[in-house]
Amino acid sequence: MAEPLFTPEEQKKFDAGIAEIISHYPSDRKSAGMLPALRLLQEIKGWLPPEGLRLVAKHLEVTPERAYEVASFYVMYHLKKPGKYVIDVCTNLSCSLWGAEKMLAYLEEKLGLKAGEANEKFTLRETECLASCGTAPCLQINEDHHESLTRAKLDAILAKLS
């Protein structure tokens, strides 16, 4: 028998969350809750497993294909299990003018990963503008924002990741 998708606690969180999401839309427009519902699933499971996508689709009364279509369009959804820490490094123009390319190269060397690669602990990605151009260079780790980065500051942040 297949493992259940959620633990009882996770199930409770999902049920409450999905009910709240659906309540924000007209009753005949449940499918509008797709983005928040996928976010909820990812918050609970760390990624979007296929059975989770099917469950979201069921709640929002759409086909699983529709859930997959949306999930695959946006870069923040993980259709494969990522590393424990997803590091998104902005290398857009303003950040590159403040050394982002060199910062990314430093991270690649330090983590032993190329941008786009992952291991169990880290997923390293080059990303587009994070709207922090005045405090470049910047990156996000699991959505937590870090800005005005120097080598020392970045080392200190990485050292705290267990």
Binding site: M76, G99, A131, G134, E143
Partner: protein, 446 residues
Amino acid sequence: MASTAKGIDPIISAAWGKPQSWTLDSYKKRGGYEGLKKALEMQPAAIIDEVKKSNLRGRGGAGFPTGLKWSFVPKDSPKPKYLAVNGDESEPGTFKDRYILEDDPHMMLEGIAIASYALGVHTCYVYLRGEFKFPAERCQAAIDEAYKAGIFGKKLMGKDFELNCYLVRGAGAYICGEETALLESLEGKKGWPRLKPPFPAVVGLFGSPTVVNNVETLASVPHVFTGGSDWYAKLGTDKSGGTRLVCLSGSVNRPGVYEVSMFTTLAELIYDDKYGRGMPAGRKVKAVIPGGSSAPVLGADELDVAMEFEALKVKQTMAGSGGVIVMDDSTCMVRSLWRVARFYAEESCGQCTPCREGTPWQTRLLRKIEEGRGEPGDIDMLSNVASSIAPYPPIGLGNTICALGDAAALPTHSFLMRFKDEFEAHIREKRCPFGDKPWGSFGDWS
């Protein structure tokens, strides 16, 4: 951090950096929600007229007159009407809305309440880019406070008018900042822009009349009522009222968000002690992008221009989203354009052929030139590819459903127009003349 603009007191950014500026208590102590009180004593049509008279123009990029946009919403529609707040701040060089959301979200919420009452909207969705975790937390806390205080909810500040406000986070797609793509995303779909017309004011969210306004635009609205439309209009030019937030980044000593008068010039922004404090030692301005990465680039001899919509239009560029990116004379223009081109290739939604095929093609050509593999003819090819996406000029009449195509082509056209010699040098010398330091003075990260 914002600072006082030359000749004006800051309006939008006045409380940034002050203790607890994001709370309802702090906002009310500063006169918050007084504009809403005044608006609630007026007829909805009079509110719209007041916004029209203020000459407030949208701060998201297009600069469309806000009152006029509101007046397009049909008054007798049997369908519910919606307000969608565009907080999908993703245009490279632009980072102002983040500060409003983090430091003074109630200012935007008050604007939402005024707009909703004027338009007969009972449901507002605040759409923030997915990466904005902290801004979203601050904004949600402010929404919760507004409900608790009876500002939102069944009775809008005691008035017999229900207003609900929900926050939705995107999931990482620049295209969702385009207003129709934002609506698709709000409907739970991938962010594919819609053909216009019909415009969202008539057929928008769920097929209903919908106004889409930027965060800063709505944060400006309360001031039209507390200060009066005449006062607000007089702060700006004949066609553009108020102040504006500009985001300064790149090769300057003090990047940041500054609230400026519409009469402030690019040169003042870069060199004035109140703002950018000049260039890194020994360096000169080479190029400036004045309104987010899609705005055509200007050269060093074009900085004596006011940072407002009409003046920048005369220079064949645009005020756009307020993102000013400065490049100094040690920056490689080919490398810079390549990076911008990659962004548009990455963010094209893929719906229209010229954009889907043209944006990666531009990127490949630029990479080839930057890496010293460029051939004679590549520059013409690059120009042709950009023209196939959107000819230049005029601005904003491309071959694609939405303006992302224009946004991808305009930088190419303008970089080639102003810095063609640098592209030619790359091809002639078969290398980047800037060697392994193409990013200028701050590019040596340590």
